[in-house]
């Protein structure tokens, strides 16, 4: 079953002086078993969009299809808990979802809430914490006394422990150190390739979009500007230049070198290949 938005509107604070239309007639179908990036300027509606996926926000108008559920605006929705077992959402500010006395308890909360035994929950929590790179010395510490980046890891572990089919991550690497960010992105790829998870990532990191994602959705002012395969987006169309977002580092370099007369193909996939292409050009007779 699909994940799709059909003519979805979302209005914050309707009929108040703060009324604000954050999503405008969104039509969007997300491919299952893929990693989809959602990008766009701040305030373009990215976080609002993804919060519809586990019914944290309900559409003001339109319909959201999520796996076997259909959420229609202005209708009563029962049993949203079963949906939240299937779709795990990690917020932009992870500290809002941490509340237990210890980190291990915090991560166990999800599985316990979905009726796992104490023993099972502990095992799931341990596995999830290992996945995000937090070792057992953290288990008994308070989730409120750790750094911002570590809180983010705990929040992600809390969702992984529930083992949802769809993982929705709102800027999962903001505040992570560069290696932490890299291993987090590699973890998502691993979960996608080997465990067939559908993954949606809201991000501002264009290098992450290029290096780890399959599809990309671009939002602006509450609308979808484009939705394409990552390779088409960066290498085929003009959209990437239109959206006024910084290019990934690798593309910045290839563009700058091309402007100075280097002949470089679009097929360059990493820094090693870029170095080889430069060498070929320089030593070319």
């Amino acid at each position: 079953m699909p994940i799709a938005f059909e003519q979805v509107n979302y209005i914050y604070g309707p009929k108040t002086p703060f009324e604000y239309e954050a999503l405008k007639r969104i039509d969007l179908a997300i491919e299952l078993n893929k990693i989809t990036a959602i990008i766009g300027p701040t305030g373009s509606g990215k976080s609002t969009l993804v919060q519809h996926l586990n019914a944290l926000l309900l559409p003001s108008a339109g319909t959201v299809y999520i796996l076997d559920r259909v959420i229609v605006a202005n209708q009563k929705n029962k049993d949203l808990k079963s949906l939240r077992k299937k779709v795990g959402l990690v917020f932009q500010f992870p500290e809002y979802q941490l509340f237990e006395e210890t980190i291990i308890k915090d991560v166990m909360f999800g599985p316990l809430n979905f009726k796992a035994s104490e023993e099972e929950a502990r095992q799931k929590a341990k596995n999830a914490l290992a996945m995000v790179g937090l070792d057992p010395s953290y288990y008994e510490r308070s989730p409120l006394d750790i750094s911002g980046g570590q809180k983010r890891r705990v929040a992600i572990a809390g969702i992984l422990a529930i083992d949802p089919d769809v993982l929705v991550l709102d800027e999962p690497t903001a505040g992570l150190d560069p290696q932490g960010a890299k291993s987090m992105m590699e973890l998502f790829v691993e979960l996608n390739r080997n465990h067939h998870k559908t993954i949606l990532i809201v991000t501002h990191d264009m290098d992450h979009v290029l290096n780890y994602c399959d599809n990309v959705v671009v939002m602006k002012r509450g609308e979808i500007l484009t939705h394409q395969q990552v390779n088409d987006f960066f290498f085929k169309g003009e959209d990437v230049l239109d959206i006024e977002m910084a290019l990934p580092q690798r593309l910045k370099f290839t563009e700058a070198l091309r402007a100075k007369g280097f002949k470089l193909t679009d097929k360059i996939r990493n820094v090693q290949e870029l170095a080889l292409s430069i060498k070929k050009e320089i030593s070319h007779e």
Binding site: T48, G148, G175, G180, F253, G261, K279
Partner: protein, 275 residues
Amino acid sequence: MNPIEIKNLNFSYDQTQDVVKDVSFVVKKGSYTTLIGHNGSGKSTIAKLIIGLLEKEKGSILIDGEELSLETIEGIRRKIGIVFQNPDNQFIGATVRDDIAFGLENHQVEPSEMDVIIENYAKEVGMSEYLDHEPTRLSGGQKQRVAIAGILSMKPEILILDEATSMLDPEGKEDINNLVKQLHKENNMTILSITHDVEEVLKSDHVIVMYEGRIVKDGPPSEVMKNEEELVRLKLAAPYSVRLANELKKLGISVKQEWDMEGMVDELCQLLLNK
């Protein structure tokens, strides 16, 4: 006199494990200094110690040569503006306008001047349209913009940014960085920025690196950021240009300006022309 001078600072949250270990550094007047390090290395803790939100265990914190203490803290806080990781922790007003006004009121700005200042800074951070919105209802990146406008409008002598632009889109980040740079120049503001953004580090005057609570490197970015192996060992990443320079070195091509994309592209272009 240095705006910030830290000597042999120690701190622990639980009295058993020190998270800041014998830290000493200086932030020079009018400099743009970046503080980097892996998650949990103690960066934010140091920011909180500097403004007296946490109490040090040992060592000293001197602001403009004055030791931070219960007697001096009020005066010192007037000089320092800080933007936190999570801007929600610093919103007070019911609207964006009120929120920026609150800080100005505390700095005894005349009410007649306030509107102009508020509108000016809201415009600078791209939030003019949102002056009558509730700060808590804004997106993460917009919240960060408002928090930054609120602090900058007070024109602090010392500005501490704790991952203040982590949720901004790349363009927004550049806009804010340019605004901060402009104020930095015009007012000779001293800036200490905690960041994971390699580009920002490369453009700073000075970079301090923390690892497990200690300062392990301290110098200009052209020196600190060029050793890829060492940066990886410190759980950081080298700039893309440095990684490319290392790959080129393996292939027998050496470049001199490995921390600077433009410089490196020019060097490679010369090699292409001289082949």
